[in-house]
């Protein structure tokens, strides 16, 4: 049973990540390759606040979001002036820089040794330390996030983003400040990604930089490409599929040494097939052109 709830916890965490990236890719048309860096920043900021500065879980949770949002301006201010390939390249650069800092600033993050013994989240006297209670906890947070995303998507802000995505010049002609909208979308997205990071750290109770690499960013991106973008169901469907796929391979009794590579090959194939024949993904709304 724990195994099932473990998968569900991972689905909840990744669903928040996928939804956060969806705000950039699906709503704003910004192909970002640095989502894992905000995920990692959330995990590290909350962990360091809890373990080194003695903060409680709730303040650490919110400070991690704020920290991630502030750091997102570092990349969004400069890179949003860039277009197309150059924007992707800039976010990819930011991802690699963040990883290098997490990995090499051993004095603060312990680098490759990682941080063990992270306490489970505590609320007053109640500690969320079983897999089942963590499932309920993450389900609650993920549901809140999904509601917020639903609200954002239908708000004037979300609809303006979609307008910018469809036709930047027309949106500008209607008096929308394109750069400011994109920077805000980036910040909101970074904040939600940080929530996933906090949840991940509290669940695994150990973090190291290898969870937050460029490959992880590509994985998050492939979740929403395969699932679809521009609405809520696409990223969620993508998350469920991509988290469960390795487990299906496990049930097919494929040896572990091959399974990891085989999984990646399937991801790669899915990306190519979806891009060619189904650019809106399995259940998305926004169609890449």
């Amino acid at each position: 049973m724990n195994y099932l709830f473990h998968l569900l916890v991972m689905i909840n965490i990744y669903a928040i990540l996928a939804l956060s990236l969806n705000l950039l890719v699906g709503y704003s048309g910004l192909m970002s390759m640095c989502q894992a860096s905000f995920y990692g920043l959330g995990a590290y900021i909350s962990t360091l606040l809890i373990m080194k500065a003695g903060f409680g879980f709730i303040p650490a949770f919110f400070l991690a979001i704020i920290g991630s949002v502030l750091l997102s301006y570092l990349i969004s201010f400069p890179s949003l002036r860039l277009r197309g390939d150059y924007f992707v390249l800039a976010t990819l650069g930011f991802q690699i820089i963040t990883f290098a800092i997490l990995y090499n600033w051993v004095g603060l993050t312990r680098g490759p040794y990682g941080i063990p013994g992270i306490p489970s989240p505590r609320f007053f006297t109640f500690s969320v330390d079983t897999v089942f209670s963590y499932f309920i906890f993450t389900l609650f947070i993920a549901a809140c996030c999904a509601l917020l995303f639903y609200w954002i998507g239908n708000s004037p802000f979300g609809r303006s983003l979609k307008a910018i995505r469809e036709d930047e010049i027309a949106a500008a002609a209607l008096g929308k400040n394109i750069v400011r909208f994109k920077i805000t979308a980036f910040a909101v997205s970074a904040g939600f990604a940080a929530i996933s990071g906090v949840l991940f750290a509290g669940y695994m109770r150990y973090i190291d930089p290898t969870s937050f690499t460029l490959n992880e960013s590509i994985f998050i991106l492939s979740i929403i490409i395969i699932g679809g973008t521009g609405n809520l169901s696409g990223p969620v469907v993508g998350t469920i599929l991509m988290i469960l796929l390795p487990e299906i391979l496990r049930f097919l009794k494929i040896p572990d040494s091959v399974a990891a590579n085989l999984r990646q090959i399937i991801y790669g194939l899915l990306i190519i097939i979806i891009m060619r024949y189904l650019p809106q993904g399995i259940s998305g709304e926004y169609k890449f052109e």
Binding site: P78, G93, I265, G268, I271, E289
Partner: protein
């Protein structure tokens, strides 16, 4: 110490500039951000390992076979992966993501066949050559000489030959080229074939120098791309210069700080260039509509 670091930086820079030139050849003409170039890089050096170390071909025969295969592979990849997308009128973004998917497939296929551990192509102690206080191994010298011969002659080929002219024409204005009756598909073949061969040369030499593992492709490709951006878009001399400069710059970073921060400084340089000089060192300012890049 500094002299030796710079000497090593020059060797690294040479392999970057080969890679950058190959990438630019494809990127400038087809406007495709060819992530799978990293897969060609990895695949070709694993082919070299297969022919040279496993099947015991003589080294030069093995390299020759690898170059031919990688050229064919490059063209086939274009035909199966990009041409259908271009025909459908898909955006650069879709092509980029498909390319990324293709990269993931090839890399994991290689890892599945050969395993994840590092493989050494040349065993035993390599002979070294002393030039004053600088020491080069034989493989390093081979990299320097190959680049010094191959790159200038290839640039000359691009300048003088008919094929080179078509490639440069497609870089500058693909629509005008079509209206002159040249099939862009043919030019694509040349771009992908030559580009892939350059990647294969870089990876073969580098593999002989430091050994291989399945994940060498992406970092190598990214360094090449940074070289392209530093050097500048619009001229094929740009990527060559950018690659060399990046190699030297990275050795200076090691000298000033430590190897740990090399990657980070490289990408900070990339972002600074994208911001303040997106046209690169040699390029001149153009409108996005004009270049399509």
């Amino acid at each position: 110490m500094l002299a030796q670091l710079l000497a090593n930086g020059l060797v690294t820079g040479c392999s970057y500039s080969l890679l950058a030139l190959g990438f630019a050849l494809i990127y400038f003409t087809t406007r495709t951000f060819h992530f799978a170039h990293g897969a060609v890089y990895t695949l070709s050096v694993y082919l070299l390992y297969t022919f040279f170390n496993l099947w015991k071909f003589p080294l030069w025969v093995a390299i020759l076979i690898v170059l031919v295969i990688s050229a064919i592979f490059g063209v086939l990849m274009d035909e199966t992966l990009y041409v259908p997308l271009v025909k459908k009128g898909s955006s650069q973004l879709i092509q980029m993501l498909s390319s990324l998917g293709f990269y993931i497939i090839i890399i994991n296929f290689i890892a599945m066949l050969y395993g994840n551990e590092t493989k050494v192509l040349l065993t035993g102690v390599q002979p070294t050559y002393h030039f004053g206080s600088i020491i080069y191994t034989r493989t390093q010298l081979l990299i320097l000489i190959t680049t010094a011969v191959l790159v200038p002659s290839f640039l000359l080929f691009l300048k003088k030959s008919k094929v080179g002219m078509m490639i440069r024409a497609m870089r500058d204005n693909p629509i005008l080229l079509q209206s002159l009756g040249v099939s862009p598909r043919q030019v694509r073949w040349f771009a992908f074939a030559f580009g892939s061969v350059l990647a294969a040369v870089a990876s073969s030499l580098n593999g002989l120098d430091v050994g291989i593992d399945p994940n060498i492709g992406m970092p190598a490709l990214l360094n090449g791309v940074v070289g392209v951006i530093i050097g500048g878009v619009g001229f094929f001399e740009g990527p060559v210069l950018g690659g060399l400069l990046l190699g030297l710059l990275q050795s200076l970073i090691i000298w000033k700080t430590s190897a740990r921060w090399q990657e980070m400084v490289t990408f900070i340089i990339l972002i600074l260039f994208l911001l303040f000089r997106p046209q690169g060192l040699l390029g001149y300012k153009r409108r996005t509509e004009e270049t399509g890049l």
